[in-house]
Symmetry: C2
Subunit: 309 residues, 2 copies
């Protein structure tokens, strides 16, 4: 089961974190940009080449200590289909290095359209008698606003191809409460969404008790993290908001169970832009990312203790 695979990687590395690869050109060292623009006259081709080079360096520096990457689709789409090609190539390269890949696309739709997203990002596309993996992520973030019609096609693909999803439950942004904290009878919307995750995952539980249906719960709302951890015992959490957005190790500790399992904590800018601090040479961007990944791992381990299967 896909979530088991992530859990085993986390336990083996004693590191419950994921490196967010959300590469804006602003984050890419100048020497990489210069090379890409010298070699490509088309601006989107140049941008796509620079992002791939940047990502490759990060993956090379992280793959033996960080179990997973989380590429954010938006930053690739911003650079056109050429950028989306870099997304596909990044996933392929991370897999070559043994990393687990969570595609952060927050996709949502219904019926056959949701099937198309599920097939494209997690499954295999049937083309003229062949089965082809279009993007081949291990997990996809999704938005559950449309209800079960939007989630069921994903469950089918998760089962068939041994993949997973993370459903948005309580997001890390300041205005997440506008809708998510509103109460239906005596329950908030995020609690309702959380209950739906437990239900959707019922038949897809793995050997460590967690199902293929995870949830996104922000580090910036520690009270809710604690509440949801207790109410969603079979749902693995993907936790954004550590670092740049303000969540600390003590906050994210609420996302874990007593074995130190149950969650993976994301850091994007903190890792990608580590080299921009403290007079670091830009050529050492990957080394700085590795140092930050180690610091983050130690920071979180100090708050949650050991990780055991």
């Amino acid at each position: 089961m896909s979530m088991d695979l992530l859990i085993e990687k986390i336990a083996a590395m004693k590191n419950p974190t994921v490196a967010g690869l959300d590469p804006k050109l602003d984050y890419v060292p100048k020497y990489i940009l210069d090379k890409a623009f010298a070699e490509n006259s088309d601006p989107l081709e140049a941008a796509a080449a620079a992002l791939y080079e940047f990502n490759k360096g990060l993956i090379d520096a992280l793959y033996d200590i960080v179990p997973a990457i989380k590429p954010q689709a938006a930053y690739y789409e911003m650079y056109g289909w050429q950028g989306v090609r870099t997304l596909a190539k990044t996933i392929e390269y991370a897999h070559e290095k043994g990393m687990y890949v969570i595609t952060d696309g927050k996709r949502n739709d219904i019926g056959t359209t949701m099937e198309a997203y599920a097939t494209g990002h997690l499954g295999m596309t049937a083309i003229n008698g062949q089965q082809v993996a279009a993007f081949n992520g291990d997990c996809l973030t999704v938005n559950g606003y449309l209800g079960s019609d939007g989630i069921n096609p994903l469950l089918k693909v998760c089962k068939e191809f041994d993949k997973g999803i993370y459903v948005l439950v309580k997001t890390s942004n300041p205005s997440s409460g506008e809708l998510q904290d509103q109460k239906i009878a005596d329950k908030t919307i995020y609690e309702t969404m959380g209950e739906m995750c437990e239900k959707w995952g019922e038949e897809l539980r793995g050997k460590y008790g967690y199902s293929a249906v995870g949830a996104v719960v922000g580090a910036t709302y520690p009270e809710q993290l604690k509440e949801l951890r207790a109410k969603m015992p079979h749902t693995f959490f993907l936790v954004p908001g550590y670092g740049a957005q303000g969540g600390g190790a003590k906050d994210v500790a609420f996302a874990f169970d007593e074995k130190g399992l149950g969650a993976v904590i994301n850091s994007s800018r903190g890792i990608m832009c580590a080299y921009k601090k403290a007079g670091c040479d830009e050529h050492d961007y990957a080394k700085a990312a590795r140092e930050e990944a180690i610091r983050m791992r130690e920071d979180i381990l100090s708050a949650i203790g050991d990780i055991t299967l």
Copy 2:
């Protein structure tokens, strides 16, 4: 204002409909597939080529009678980055033919990530001192579950580049009520989302009274269409669910104001697969699509009467 442009095209053609281009390979005539597979050994390249050929034929047959296309991103992503290249090329071709383009991506995220989606799909991406249009849609469908942090970056791009969005309010699927019909105090979630749309659009109203912030409201819930039309006087509706999903002309008529404005009705499979009915030669797929588009236009006009600016 972008929504004004759509309204003017609708009024000029007396046709408040949009052709959904959601091309699965199953929908593509065999002679187009055979040519694509003969010319491309890579299955994703072949699929992408076939989809583009199919779309081009549809656009050629529709551009003088249908004001807009709505490509559904999922069906392009299902065929990898090569499919996404076909999405970009389809948008470009539709623009060459003067059509308005609603990219159906239901994108959602927060802050700089949502900015990246807005920039990529509607705005211009800054690359090494140049401004490049990555996908260049006129409008993008979005999901508002994350609240204002997810919508504000879009409003900024809509204002700067004269574009629009459609926020999911009440979707057309059977399980849309699981969350959307739940009541917060005495208001449903879809009503709350509808009110948020009116508020988000306040400063982006055009000359016909409708703002750049539209809403997706399904044809399969006519009561709610009627209710929301009354409560959201400045919000243009994108209405899926006509035809294949069960919505009829009388149902969608509730989406319009007294001038016959206020909504655009989508048909995807009905138009794309028109040739699959009634012993039609597959070579005539575009002609069949045109006939169905005319039938649909007349069907809807018969229920709403005239369209006047």
